[in-house]
Subunit: 191 residues, 2 copies
Amino acid sequence: MDKTKIDANFFIPMPVVLVGTQVSGKANFMTAGWCSRANARPPMILCGIGNHHFTHRGIEETKTFSVNLPSSKLLEKTDYCGIVSGEKADKSRLFDVFYGSLKTAPMISECPVCIECRLVQSIPLPTNTIFIGEMAGVYANGNVMKEGKPDFEAIDPLFLTMTDNRYWTLGKNAGDAWRAGRSLISNDRES
Amino acid sequence: MDKTKIDANFFIPMPVVLVGTQVSGKANFMTAGWCSRANARPPMILCGIGNHHFTHRGIEETKTFSVNLPSSKLLEKTDYCGIVSGEKADKSRLFDVFYGSLKTAPMISECPVCIECRLVQSIPLPTNTIFIGEMAGVYANGNVMKEGKPDFEAIDPLFLTMTDNRYWTLGKNAGDAWRAGRSLISNDRES
């Protein structure tokens, strides 16, 4: 297939999360799509946050943050948290907030899964900072757990694509990881 | 909603990519779900790779790598690249490979979007390394571009959830980013 070089400002599809911080003692939440697991053992997660964001200040202040996974039902409030800065609006009462063992990483009761993180490392880049946090506690609603595992159809997460700037739901189950490609191993051995 | 503390080894939903490297002069590809934009300007992307992976060696060797976005049609080959290490199998002929300006970051013709990256920084963590790369070139098929922008329905990307270990397609368009939450701004002003 012929390829054309396109604008380098490309974004792979992103899971949508709400990053929780405490700034000057008050809970704040920011929508983020630059979020990924960072380390397997111990479990660590990372978020890329704009250097001038209010959330950046919050993470630096308490050395803790939370990552909350909103379901598609929370689309409006989630988008709102990406439009309005905590510097201009008080987002502390937008959700029912709870705290875990870290005490300074506000989490969102309405989100089916919430992770509280202890800051491990900050990687400053030209316009953003990568914050890596150890996952100190993960909290889930009972109705999104199935046989002890998170059930992502029940979680009903959101995804974001840019630069078309659209949210998406999770689609169809397309196959099993570490199974779907096994037939190619046999072919390989036979050849 | 009442929350229960669950296993800290939780994974947020992940976009599925194939990371391309050259190891001892030969192209190799590894499936990865720990991938995110890292910086806005200049565009940078990051991947979390297990410290003992063959791909880790390739990135260290050439200081370049590629991030390829497979469509759901490539599910079997994509999963295969996550099952079998390049140390044991030659994956250089699994795809039609092409190179861009960096010369040492092999890309996959069959993937609708491919990104070649110049290594900027490596962040060693206990079991994984975060490789941050500047996006030196992005290549796309003409049929996934719509009015100059990537069309994600046409790209038809894959997602991975763990620990249920399932691949998923992109679901329904759920709303517009930086628009869906605007009504809450008005409410805020009125209150």
